[in-house]
């Protein structure tokens, strides 16, 4: 998993797990039904506007709240390839990596760096995001090797499956 290409979708600070998957959806048995409710209380346009291949760009403390991994899985179902945030909540970050979606921490960014619909190219190996629309490059702290291995194997379940079959 090196280059990731997609379009930016901007979200704010403190997007919590209840925002992403409201509690009432948690007993739904079909994850695709649940995905249709993603962010419904705070951004009713999200599901309509999100196209396959998108990259979320968010503020501080992304994914704060519950351990519900559904809050990562719905993004996977909706085709989100990476999430860039100023900071991540701990459990959420683990869940992202475990499920195989890169979580990229970028302490600072503003509207000059990213806006909605910008075409982005992310190099995980180099630790660089290239905003093709704005023609700007930003560097981020590379994801530690320990975690990159999990991402490269398509998530921790795949990694473990391989180990167990050895």
């Amino acid at each position: 998993m090196d280059e990731i290409n997609g379009f930016a979708y901007i979200l704010g600070d403190d997007i919590n797990t209840d925002d992403i998957v409201p509690s009432h959806t948690l007993t739904m048995r079909d994850p695709h039904e649940m995905a249709k409710c993603t962010l419904e209380f705070i951004d009713s346009q999200f599901v309509k506007e999100i196209n396959k291949g998108n990259i979320i760009v968010a503020g501080e403390n992304f994914g704060t709240g519950s351990s519900r991994e559904e809050a990562v899985n719905v993004f996977k179902i909706l085709g989100i390839k990476a999430i860039i945030a100023k900071s991540f909540a701990r459990i959420y970050f683990r869940n992202l990596i475990n499920v195989g979606i890169p979580g990229i921490t970028l302490n600072k960014w503003n509207e000059k760096t990213f806006s909605k619909g910008d075409k982005l190219e992310i190099s995980l190996d180099k630790g660089v995001i290239f905003n093709k629309t704005k023609n700007v490059k930003v560097e981020f702290a590379k994801i530690p090797e320990f975690l990159t291995k999990i991402l490269n194997e398509g998530g921790i379940i795949n990694q473990l499956k391989k180990k167990l079959s050895k």
């Binding site: 209840d18 009432h24 909540a89 701990r90």
Partner: protein, 417 residues
């Protein structure tokens, strides 16, 4: 090298000789708690591994608490999936749906003891830190990893030392302390950190649990208390197992040290829609409420019910206000019954429910309608957490919740005690 409690416990559970903050380590897990998430994502992820065993059926604590008894068909089906999984893999501690909320029942049954490393499929697993052990929440795939291997990776956290001095005044509770701390350090102020609590002797075990429960609202990974006689006698009453008390080294390194004089803490309220939105009671007094809720893994314990009964005795709740009381466990429920607290609640006009997460998660038994306002003893007041997206939740202590139920508006409990 000198170590904090978190560093010591992680080191003891790894096969390394030395560890330091920032390092990735693989640790042996002593106990894993799972609830309805088992029938949500966990069983689906686990089946992908294609193995027909779990690493140790004796180290899994499985309970149903979020939606019990099942309020909908889909919740009932989720329970069916959970039970089938527990049976298939021969879970030994299959606790069922009648005992109460996970974070209350597990400690009551003596499963959380000093020195342990515990994980759970719930973010408020941090609660067990009150028992001088390390405990934290994980997602469904991490649970699957533990089920299969008994191990999990951790990043060794930096620690904050939080030192308490003095004692709380009448009408002020440990909930007020933790709301104050989260307000001060913000909801992102302790991301990935271990909070280590010192100066704890004046706090009850119930009160410590409330604090550890909510450290995750500041982003923390652990919220661990030191040990004392109070804790040891509590544990000895509930468990025959050995335990290993962990003290930090004198020279342990803390990234930050904070001190709180408990006698200066006043009733706090977290305004909608963040637990970090803390304010002093005088700034929110008088806000009208439709519902008051006393319950949850944060504040549904016997100490909480006792103070509620003390405030309510001989009074009635406001006729326009609904007061819902959900004891955190069957044990708490029975104790409250024997002490006559339930009589006081019911006669005052409150609704007392079976022990469940229920209203806390907007699941059942107290869901909020459009535009309704609730004062709640729970830990999260996110948009739509307890019902409609337009409803609003104020988080407060059991004393403040009860005083507010009497007047139908947010009320300072010190005025009615």
């Amino acid at each position: 090298m000198s170590k904090t409690v978190a560093e010591k416990i992680l080191l003891e559970h790894s096969d390394l000789k030395e560890i330091s903050p920032g390092q990735f380590v693989e640790c042996d897990i002593d106990l894993i708690m799972v609830h309805e998430q088992l029938g949500g994502r966990i069983h689906k992820e686990y089946e992908k591994l294609g193995i027909d065993y779990v690493w140790d059926p004796n180290k899994i604590f499985f309970i149903l608490d979020h939606w019990v008894p099942a309020p909908t068909i889909s919740a009932a089906q989720m329970h069916q999936d959970c039970r089938a999984f527990a049976e298939k893999y021969n879970f030994i501690h299959n606790i069922g749906m009648d005992k109460g909320i996970c974070h209350q029942v597990l400690p009551e049954m003596g499963f959380s003891r000093p020195g342990m490393l515990i994980v759970g499929s719930d973010s408020h697993t941090t609660t067990y830190g009150a028992f001088n052990c390390l405990s934290t929440g994980i997602g469904a795939t991490d649970v699957s990893v533990v089920f299969a291997t008994g191990k999990l990776w951790f990043k060794v956290p930096e620690s904050y030392k939080i030192n308490f001095v003095g004692e709380l005044n009448k009408g002020v509770m440990s909930k007020d302390i933790i709301l104050k701390i989260i307000g001060d350090i913000t909801t992102k102020g302790a991301i990935y950190k271990s909070l280590e609590f010192h100066g704890i002797d004046s706090l009850s075990i119930d009160g410590r649990m409330t604090i550890s429960n909510m450290v995750v609202e500041a982003g923390a990974k652990f919220g661990v208390f030191l040990s004392d006689n109070k804790l040891e006698s509590w544990i000895q009453k509930r468990s025959k197992e050995e335990y290993n008390i962990i003290h930090p080294d004198k020279e342990a390194i803390y990234e930050k040290t904070l001190e709180y004089n408990l006698s200066e803490i006043i009733p706090m309220v977290a305004k909608p829609s963040s637990p970090g939105n803390a304010d002093e009671i005088e700034n929110v007094e008088g806000i009208e409420i439709d519902q008051a809720f006393l319950g949850s893994c944060t504040n549904g314990r016997i100490e909480d019910l006792r103070i509620a009964a003390k405030i309510l005795k001989g009074k009635s709740i406001n006729p326009k206000t609904r007061f819902i009381i959900t004891p955190a466990s069957k044990e708490v429920y029975i104790t409250a019954m024997k002490e006559g607290l339930l009589d006081i609640f019911i006669n005052a006009g409150a609704v007392v429910t079976h022990s469940t997460c229920g209203a806390c998660i907007g699941g059942h038994m107290g869901v909020l309608g459009e535009g309704e306002v609730c004062i709640s003893s729970t830990n999260r007041n996110f948009v739509g957490r307890m019902g409609a997206a337009s409803s609003q939740v104020y988080l407060a202590s059991p004393a403040t919740v009860t005083a507010s139920a009497i007047y139908g508006k947010i009320t300072d409990p010190r005025e009615v005690l």
